[in-house]
């Protein structure tokens, strides 16, 4: 049964700024609420503060001002290890451990959490099936024996291993070739519906954002310009959105559209 009555806020940014020691501000006064089960896409060009926003959620960074609340509790009060194990994390470089097989890579968090070996194994096989890699063929391979697309699938499976309620994804498909990217995006779209997880997804690719988002947060120069539904974005009624769309199109057209 789905509770529709009142969407529950699970991640909240309250006046969050992040400044480097050098004094450069990467993020200023961010106020943003993320609801349970939604996919919030952080959209913006490089240097707009998307990745910083993401890393503030799993406390890889700590705000220099304001508070980030996860499940109602400020990240600074969370034990960072406990917090991160509740949050799946997928990055563009994937970061698979080259000395581990696919099976050990995916089973990492369950093993750290002390699951019994057979349960962890079963879970790994389940997940490999879920991301479309036959366990019999892939479980014993090493990352170097996989293609880019397969590695990224393993990365997604690894992030889901301990069934975390949250998933943070930082340009996860950005390094893939266009055909593989389109394929894995479609698959992820299907997966998204089945998983019912709260996902924060960073991308600079508008098409990808529109395809996967429940809501899009548009960022520029460390500031949040606004939060829109994909429909609002497509209609481009908002002047900020129109400006972004125009900028996006002028950069895309000469390259023949990526």
């Amino acid at each position: 049964m789905k509770v529709v009555a009142k969407p529950e806020m699970v991640i909240e940014f309250r006046g969050v700024s992040y400044r480097l020691e050098s004094g450069r501000t990467l993020l200023s006064d961010l106020n943003l609420q993320i609801l349970r089960g939604e996919t919030l896409v952080l959209l913006g060009r490089s240097g707009s503060g998307k990745t910083t926003t993401l890393k503030l959620i799993n406390r890889l960074l700590e705000p220099t001002q304001g508070q980030v609340l996860v499940e109602g509790c400020a990240t600074s009060l969370w034990d960072p290890i406990r917090l991160r194990r509740r949050i799946g994390y997928v990055i563009q470089e994937v970061g698979l451990f080259p000395h581990f097989t696919v099976e050990r890579n995916v089973g990492l968090v369950p093993r750290l959490e002390g699951w019994p070996a057979d349960r962890a194994r079963q879970r790994v096989h389940e997940l490999l099936d879920l991301v479309g890699l036959e366990p019999e063929r892939f479980a014993r391979r090493f990352p170097r024996e996989l293609s880019g697309g397969q590695r990224q699938r393993v990365g997604v499976a690894r992030a889901l291993a301990a069934d975390p309620p949250f998933l943070l994804m930082d340009e996860p498909f950005g390094a893939l070739d266009p055909v593989t990217r389109a394929e894995i995006q479609r698959e992820f779209q299907t997966l998204e519906g089945r998983l019912q997880k709260t996902i924060v997804f960073v991308t600079h690719d508008l098409r990808e954002g529109l395809m996967l988002a429940t809501r899009l947060a548009l960022m520029e120069g460390g500031r949040l310009l606004g939060v829109y539904t994909p429909e609002e974005f497509r209609r481009a009624s908002d002047p900020t959105v129109t400006a972004y769309l125009q900028a996006f199109e002028t950069t895309q057209t000469p390259r023949g559209g990526e």
Partner: protein, 210 residues
């Protein structure tokens, strides 16, 4: 009497001194690894010490080996026994490549791998033991190999302070102006260095990923 006959006649002593040499090198390397690796790890965790530790190890390395043995001679506990003294000096010599390679190996671990590990909630200890050290192991072994080869060579000088080893033949041969005696020390030492180099490089290759 040609060289082979000379070796044959003195085989017992060559064997003894080779074993003694091996012992000096073995103990020194064991100590150097068990001190150098933790120091290298410390540098990755507390970069403040980087200059002090790497600088210190570099300075030791620049002291001529004979002088280092001499410097340590008046030291209270160390100076009492020649082998103690020799092992200390050899350990100090072997330290730099091991510390340096441990540090370089760990800091050279792919940034994406490290970020993923931290992002998934590995503690620093888990990151070090399960990810950084295994991935850095090949580079650390290179340091151990370089240090071993250096130590086999420098250990011949330990004979000058009476610590034994293959250097005894070399110094004796120099005094007697007899090349056969020099070679009775030099050839086994060279073989030892080559063998150590060969086996450690083979081991290193097993730890190459990607």
């Amino acid at each position: 009497m040609n060289i082979l006959q000379f070796f044959w006649k003195n085989q017992a002593q060559i064997c003894d001194l080779t074993l003694e040499h091996l012992w000096l090198v073995g103990i020194s390397m064991l100590l150097a690894v068990s001190i150098g690796m933790p120091l290298g790890i410390l540098l990755t965790r507390r970069p403040v010490f980087r200059r002090a530790i790497l600088g210190g190890a570099t300075i030791v390395q620049t002291i001529p080996s004979l002088a280092l043995f001499g410097f340590l001679l008046p030291a209270p506990w160390l100076g009492e026994r020649a082998d103690r003294l020799a092992i200390t000096a050899l350990t100090l010599y072997a330290l730099l490549p091991i510390v340096q390679n441990t540090y370089a190996g760990i800091t050279g671990v792919d940034a994406g791998v490290r970020e993923a590990a931290r992002g998934m909630g590995m503690t620093d200890g888990e990151l070090l033991m399960q990810v950084e050290l295994p991935l850095a192991f090949g580079v650390i072994l290179t340091g151990v190999r370089v240090a071993t080869v250096i130590t086999v060579g420098v250990a011949t000088i330990a004979a000058a302070i009476g610590a034994g080893g293959l250097g005894e033949f070399i110094f004796r041969g120099l005094a007697m102006v007899d090349n056969r005696v020099i070679l009775a020390g030099a050839i086994p030492a060279a073989l030892m260095a080559l063998l150590a180099d060969f086996f450690l490089s083979r081991l290193e290759r097993r730890f190459r990923y990607v």
